[in-house]
Symmetry: C2
Subunit: 168 residues, 2 copies
DNA sequence: TTCTACTTTCAATAAATATTGAAACTTTAT
DNA sequence: ATAAAGTTTCAATATTTATTGAAAGTAGAA
């Protein structure tokens, strides 16, 4: 396998994996393309390499910038925008964790806050239901705390601790 | 809010949250319905309460059983199937972690295994690319190990340790 | 075996999501 | 100011994913 083929493979697969992760294929592919490219790429180059339209490229680049996985850079004497990806994979992971926390965990907590006050006699049924709500809330809060920890940690520190967690 | 309304709200929102989590709405709603129901429910009852077709109900119940979040139970003297949800939320979380690991992490590791042997001179470009592949692999393996740890742990033990992790 | 109650499958259809491409908009150079 | 180069938006369209419902399949009772 040549390096060119390997990069192509990486881009294709990153796209496929992205869909499993609930991010759209093009977004994941652009991210992969920028990860494996040496220098910054223009919108034109991204469009060409991935065979996608200008609109599609634009929208997904913008979303990647919102996720803080991609930055816009300027080249001296060039009018158009160029883009680079964050190459520090641990930083990428922390960023993704942060965003998924917001999208996946926070809605649960908001939901549970909303359901708080239930009228009615405190019979078996209500007690069971309240226990469920309480358990889900506790889990969500703990998971949130874990992610906050991850987001704040240095890579080596974090995995070092996790390693100890499960061996000693 | 009455308990009935609260349960309704829970089911609707669990469905909406499910879509964020990449599971289909109906599957999440059936899960929620079974979680808040006191006894086992038949396919008919699920269809009626969620206003969905028989085929839809059947397929999603089956998938929930594959995920090991729902079990089939038999009632004495009843011919049709009844279903219950696993109510231990920590067990549910572990189960979901296990499945998402398989769907989201394992493909990455498989991908990287596949790209291993790249021909060509060991220039700057190749070195940078290999570093990327290596970093992604290390992250995926570490995340996998973390999830394996979660899957094997008792709830209190796990969160107790995580709590210590980020305070001391 | 046939009838009946129930479950599963799957082609057709609906709904949700992603993509295109051209028009509108913005910015810089002249 | 106007033109040129580049960017953004968004209605139309294509693609993917979920859902329906009826037909085929299964298993227990008579």
């Amino acid at each position: 396998m040549t390096i060119k083929e390997a990069k192509q493979q990486f881009i294709q697969s990153w796209g496929a994996i992205g869909t499993q992760w609930g991010v759209n294929k093009t977004m994941a592919q652009i991210h992969a393309l920028l990860l494996v490219s040496n220098g910054p790429l223009s919108t034109e180059e991204i469009m060409e390499q991935l065979s996608i339209s200008r609109g599609n490229a634009n929208m997904n680049i913008r979303e990647l910038m919102e996720w803080a996985l991609v930055d816009k850079v300027f080249k001296a004497g060039e009018r158009r925008d160029f883009f680079i990806a964050e190459k520090d994979i641990w930083r990428v992971a922390r960023q993704v964790a942060k965003i998924r926390k917001k999208r996946e965990l926070e809605p649960i907590i908001r939901l549970l806050d909303q359901i708080e006050n239930i009228e009615g006699v405190k019979n078996e049924e209500l007690k069971t239901f309240l226990k469920l709500l309480h358990d889900v809330r506790r889990l969500a809060l703990n998971a949130e705390r874990l992610i906050d920890g991850i987001v704040k940690s240095e890579e080596n520190w974090f995995w070092g601790r996790v390693f100890k967690l499960f061996t000693k």
